[in-house]
């Protein structure tokens, strides 16, 4: 008997690998933002699957300078573990101007230290494509995304007039100054991510696991990222918890909820 049955996770993995390879073929100058969060690490893992053990393009960390120390420690370890070509970018200019959570609202700080930092590093390296780890189930605005999603020179996302995408054919050209966001995890859900981390034994930061009755469900800048009440200290327990919960994944991310449609506004301006 031959093993020909495939699971839902197999389907997702196959689709993601296909997208990685299409992206790598279509774009000469490509990079992959890496937040060290769980999705980001799944992305690195899938890239290694797609390219037989290596990540053949640079991996970018936008360092807001508000990172959890544990995350920075993980960054150094994982970059070596996966043999990554790691580029770290800080918007030093904005920090010099005094932009920070101590004095500014989270939407402004996130825009400056993440989106503007990304614009700066993109201009510097002239990447024409970025591979991102966003998923449709994270936020309603992300549900509208394409696997290959063009951004204009101003980083704007024209979500009202997106290119059609069918039969595994994608928009694979970017004009000068524009870039294409490639999103191999679009079809994955939060639970899929966890099941895959478990199946593949993918290294992730320990902050996702409960300590003293609290754990982080989503990781961002330390001043505006809050842990949830939880005793889930294993992946099985996390999955059980997620299957019961009705709270959104990014509820602990303050910048999303600062005002109505904050996420929409952030994303239209170029936030991942």
């Amino acid at each position: 008997m031959t093993q020909t049955t495939r699971t839902h996770l197999d389907d997702l993995e196959n689709q993601s690998i296909f997208i990685f390879r299409e992206a790598y073929h279509a774009f000469k100058n490509i990079a992959m933002p890496w937040s060290m969060g769980k999705d980001s690490n799944v992305l690195v893992w899938l890239a290694r699957k797609a390219f037989f053990g290596r990540v053949p393009f640079p991996v970018l960390h936008i360092d807001t300078t508000y990172e959890f120390p544990e995350m920075l420690e993980f960054r150094e370890w994982a970059a070596k573990h996966h043999n990554l070509n790691l580029i770290v970018k800080i918007n030093t200019e904005a920090r010099a101007r005094g932009i920070g959570y101590e004095t500014h609202d989270p939407v402004t700080v996130t825009h400056e230290l993440k989106t503007v930092a990304l614009q700066q590093v993109l201009a510097e390296y002239k990447w024409d494509a970025l591979i991102t780890g966003i998923r449709r189930d994270e936020d309603p605005t992300r549900a509208k995304e394409r696997y290959f999603s063009p951004r204009n020179a101003q980083f704007e996302w024209d979500y009202k007039d997106q290119p059609p995408e069918f039969w595994s054919q994608f928009v694979t050209t970017a004009s000068k100054g524009e870039h294409v966001r490639i999103q191999p995890l679009l079809d994955w859900t939060e639970v899929d991510i966890w099941r895959y981390i478990q199946r593949e034994n993918i290294p992730i930061p320990q902050m996702y696991f409960a300590r003293n009755g609290k754990r982080f469900r989503s990781l961002g800048c330390s001043p505006i990222t809050h842990p949830i009440e939880s005793n889930a200290s294993t992946i099985d327990e996390i999955i059980t918890e997620l299957e019961a919960t009705k709270t959104t994944e990014r509820a602990g991310r303050a910048q999303d909820h600062y005002e109505r449609n904050a996420m929409q506004k952030l994303r239209a301006k170029g936030f991942l």
Partner: protein, 639 residues
Amino acid sequence: MNKAPSSSSSIKNPVSSIGAQQKLRVVFVGHVDHGKSTLIGRILHDTDSLSEGKIEQVKKACAAEGMEFEFAFLLDALLEEQKQNVTIDTTEIPFRTTRRQYAIIDAPGHKEFLKNMITGASRADAAILVISADEGVREQSRRHAYLLSMLGIKHVIVVVNKMDLVDYSEKRFREIEQEYRKFLRELGLDARTFIPASAKEGENVARASMKIKWYCAASVLEALDLLEPQQRDTDLPLRFCVQDVYRFDGRRIIAGRVETGTLKVGDQLVFSPANKSSVVAAIEGWNAPENNGPAVAGDSIGITLSEQIFVERGYVASHENETPIETNRFHADLFWIVREPLRVGHLYSLRLATQDVKCEVVSIERVMDSSTLESKVDGREQLERNEIGRLTIQTRGRLVIDNHDRIPSLGRFVIIGDGQICGGGTIFGGVYTDRTVAKSKNIFWTEGKITAGARAMRSGHRGAVIWLTGLSGAGKSTVAQALERELFQRAMHTYVLDGDNIRHGLNSNLGFSPDDRVENIRRVSEVAKLMADSGTVVITAFISPYRMDRSRAREIALESNAEFIEVFVDAPLAVCERRDPKNLYKKARAGQIREFTGIDAPYEAPEDPEIVVHTDRQSVDESVATILEQLLPRLRAVE
């Protein structure tokens, strides 16, 4: 060292958990305002699939905009959508029944948003077509169904919504069912289920309706749960589409996706369009289970080959007995989705699986109205947005295709203009040829694409080598030319190879030593074989005194399955010497020419020639007649 906790293997058994099961994607389509979004909102609500606070959030948003809450708003998450009260793009939303997971793909009803609907529907396993009971079947009800059929969606559930507006009338429901079922049948769509429902009131959505007592079949969710997910195309012929070739380390890995069929180590693959074969040495992977068995449809894999042949992106691997079609011209139905019309003769890019070639539309045979299914033949030179055309496409390079009804993933393509996807098409009417028949035993022989049989069918006769042998002065050249004339007059392709056209060119570096004679005849044999393979009746006129050489000539001709007919042009040496047309015997007798056949070199007469002519007793015409009598039956095109 991994920092993550070690994984348990408990989820590896797909039966043990819902999350590991296949998810069914369902696209919701239908005419604008027929209630798709309301139905989706109702399903999410009734299956308790919304996140905490979502209903509250939407209610608050409604209050802020001064609007009454509706189920449809649960979907309209974007600010602009809430303002305009229409769905503008494709949304994918998960929900779950006790049977399995679903992803809802919401497709908008507005005509100008066709590309979003196609984007959404192309990913779907099944479709729910929503028709409002009060308005009945409308333009988009039909257009969407047409596109679903082109996109290859097999499962369709029709929900006749807003039954509350027609007092749950069975008569009204049956009218709509009858009309629409007929339309769907013409498209080849199998709509098993028509459900009378009211999404607003929740009738027949998640639960059986008490108000629609005359209907006792499945509710919407029950009907969904009854669907079987579309089977992976594992039983179809293998199509492995090459995405890239990686040489990151010592290995040369051919990466791609198995679109259909199965592929395993040891398989002999034929790569089209190069038509080269090699055997799968290994299926490569990183952190993949050992001995994972064959790769099946849907798998993204990498393979190494046992024999290094040239392969690049766009190549399609198949098994030898089930090869795809190679062509540069084909027929297709094509939908066009951008403002700028498709123009005949304009240069576009065409992408089919991982192939990318330049193409132009040669002609538009018909333009179909996707709403009425009427097609018009009007010699159009362009196809407008939202139209569907039946057309002929010519590509600049060779394209590997299948008919859409045989292998969908190799039978559909997109047209790219200006970097944008402008339309999509499905291929029909392509003719498959069995490539194994065309192959000779010797696999290194590069067989032309056009088979000997095909050439014979066109010219009405087979190619052949008529090998005349005999002494100098026996009349080979004379007979050859007379024979050539006879064949030519019968409209046959024929040509004479003799010392005049061979010795002065191709073999000008050869003399008359035994070695050179052998080489001379070898070259003549090879040329004759090629010409015979091209469909020509080749007549050779050389002394060719050695049996060994003539039998090699026969073998060479047989390599390409060409007919070889040895004709012994016989005349006694004395007769030949008397004729001596070129004064060669005289020179030989005088010692001016060495190693002259019949004088100081042997002539080995054929032991079992196909035909013998005696030019000392027969005239040229009689000799030719003898040859024709036996030759012509052998040249007839068969099959």
